[in-house]
């Protein structure tokens, strides 16, 4: 097989390897890692919500037995000021003095938080399938996992904001509605799948060189790299 032919087969070889690793990583993720990942995501999203709400102790995130997520968050001022909310509180407070509302609970399907973590097995599969000698794989693996965990956290935040907006009908239409829908679309349909590729290309210079610069195949590259070392020894 000639040089160009061999080089053209590199992407195909990568795809086959990546598919095999993807199957393995998805199995590992689904059967072993998913529950610890969701627990970590729940804890970190609760801490984030508390930070965002100025250290408020009313913020809680819980996962139910049906895997649905419940977000307890301070009631946004926009919701409290709504006519509908005032009427509701006024009716409830009739004869019993004013009612102070501190927080509200919204529940969302557990499917989305799971989706936010699927970027991890995809990222691991890409790194493991990348051609060449993967000596320094651990660092990009750890860094990328950390970056994707942050993406998952941000996606959870977008999801929670979208849920609160939808429940309170404060972002149902107009520009806020469009922005919330767009953010939800990106968080649920784009980021979990696109982020692993971008993070892999950003952190793994060897893979980036192979794909973007059309560099020589790793076998040839390693042979070429070995030659000067031999000459230096002499």
């Amino acid at each position: 097989m000639g040089e160009p032919d061999r080089k053209l087969s590199d992407p195909l070889r990568f795809l086959l390897r990546a598919l095999a690793f993807l199957a393995l990583m998805l199995a590992l993720w689904w059967l072993v890692l998913l529950n610890p990942l969701l627990a970590g995501l729940r804890l970190s999203s609760e801490l984030t919500l508390r930070l965002l709400s100025g250290g408020s102790s009313v913020s809680h995130v819980t996962i139910g037995p049906d895997r649905n997520w419940t977000f307890q968050v301070p009631v946004p001022a926009a919701v409290l000021n709504q006519e509908r909310t005032r009427q509701m509180l006024g009716a409830a407070a009739a004869g019993s003095g004013p009612i102070k509302v501190r927080s509200m609970k919204v529940e969302g399907t557990g499917g989305y938080p799971i989706l936010f973590t699927v970027s991890l097995p995809l990222y691991w599969a890409i790194l493991l399938a990348a051609p060449g000698r993967r000596r320094r794989l651990l660092l990009p693996m750890l860094c990328g996992t950390a970056v994707l965990a942050v993406f998952a956290l941000l996606s959870i935040a977008v999801y929670a904001i979208g849920l609160v907006g939808r429940y309170s009908q404060s972002t149902a239409q107009g520009l806020p509605g469009f922005l919330t829908d767009s953010a939800m679309y990106l968080a649920t349909g784009v980021v979990p799948y696109l982020a692993p590729v971008l993070v892999a290309l950003s952190l793994d210079g060897e893979l980036r060189g192979l794909i973007l610069a059309g560099q020589a195949a790793p076998a040839a590259a390693s042979t070429a790299a070995a030659a000067p070392r031999r000459r230096r020894k002499r």
């Binding site: 040089e3 160009p4 080089k7 053209l8 590199d10 992407p11 195909l12 990568f14 795809l15 990546a18 598919l19 993807l22 998805l26 689904w30 499917g111 989706l115 699927v118 097995p121 995809l122 599969a125 890409i126 469009f178 829908d181 767009s182 679309y185 990106l186 349909g189 784009v190 979990p192 799948y193 696109l194 692993p196 590729v197 210079g205 980036r208 060189g209 192979l210 794909i211 973007l212 610069a213 059309g214 560099q215 020589a216 590259a221 070429a224």
Partner: protein, 195 residues
């Protein structure tokens, strides 16, 4: 002794001599343009006045899927963007994100941002987009049958397996396109100045 340059080598050298920016600069330009094109593509998908066109495309995809399933002896009917099996009542709705547009945007952004001639870009866009939509068509049919067999497997394949496969596929298509362009010039040019 001077070596006779290959045609690909000559082409690359001519480009450099003609005042084209160095490879590193072109790659920096790619890294800047790619997110811009990507954001523009996703914005285009989200703009409300484009929704009818996207929905029309999805409807066509569902219609063709139903026709092909029937051609091969299956039982399927298309109702707008819903693909249904009339015999057992199973129905699945093909949403905007499920019609392959997302990954097509990803591929288009990468190819358009990459430093290459417009002819090469055109070839890559045509072949790559066609590949994506053919595979997506197979995906829809496979999910249609999987959904009738097991709903949990359908969800898993739909949300986690196929989407991930599509991203890998898009990356591979792009890489293949870059390799095809770089193949003749690669031994001399590409390894000299890595990114």
């Amino acid at each position: 002794m001077a070596r006779k340059p290959s045609p690909g080598h000559t082409r690359a050298v001519q480009a450099e001599e003609a005042g084209a920016p160095p490879r590193q600069n072109r790659m920096v330009r790619f890294l800047v343009l790619f997110p811009v094109f990507l954001a523009a593509g996703f914005c285009a998908l989200l703009i409300p006045f484009l929704h009818p066109a996207i929905t029309g495309f999805t409807r066509g995809l569902v219609e063709i899927s139903a026709i092909v399933i029937r051609l091969f002896g299956g039982n399927a009917a298309a109702h707008q963007v819903v693909l249904q099996n009339p015999s057992n009542g199973f129905a699945m709705e093909v949403l905007d994100g499920c019609n392959g547009d997302d990954v097509a945007v990803l591929l288009w952004a990468a190819i358009l941002a990459y430093p290459a001639s417009w002819f090469e870009k055109g070839k890559g866009l045509l072949a790559g987009t066609a590949t994506i939509y053919v595979i997506n068509f197979l995906r829809i049919i496979s999910l249609f049958y999987l959904g009738q067999y097991n709903h949990q497997w359908f969800e898993f394949a739909h949300l986690y397996v196929w989407e991930s496969v599509f991203v890998l596929l898009t990356l591979t298509i792009f890489w293949t396109w870059v390799r095809r362009m770089a193949a003749p010039a690669a031994p001399g040019i590409a390894t000299r100045r890595p990114l």
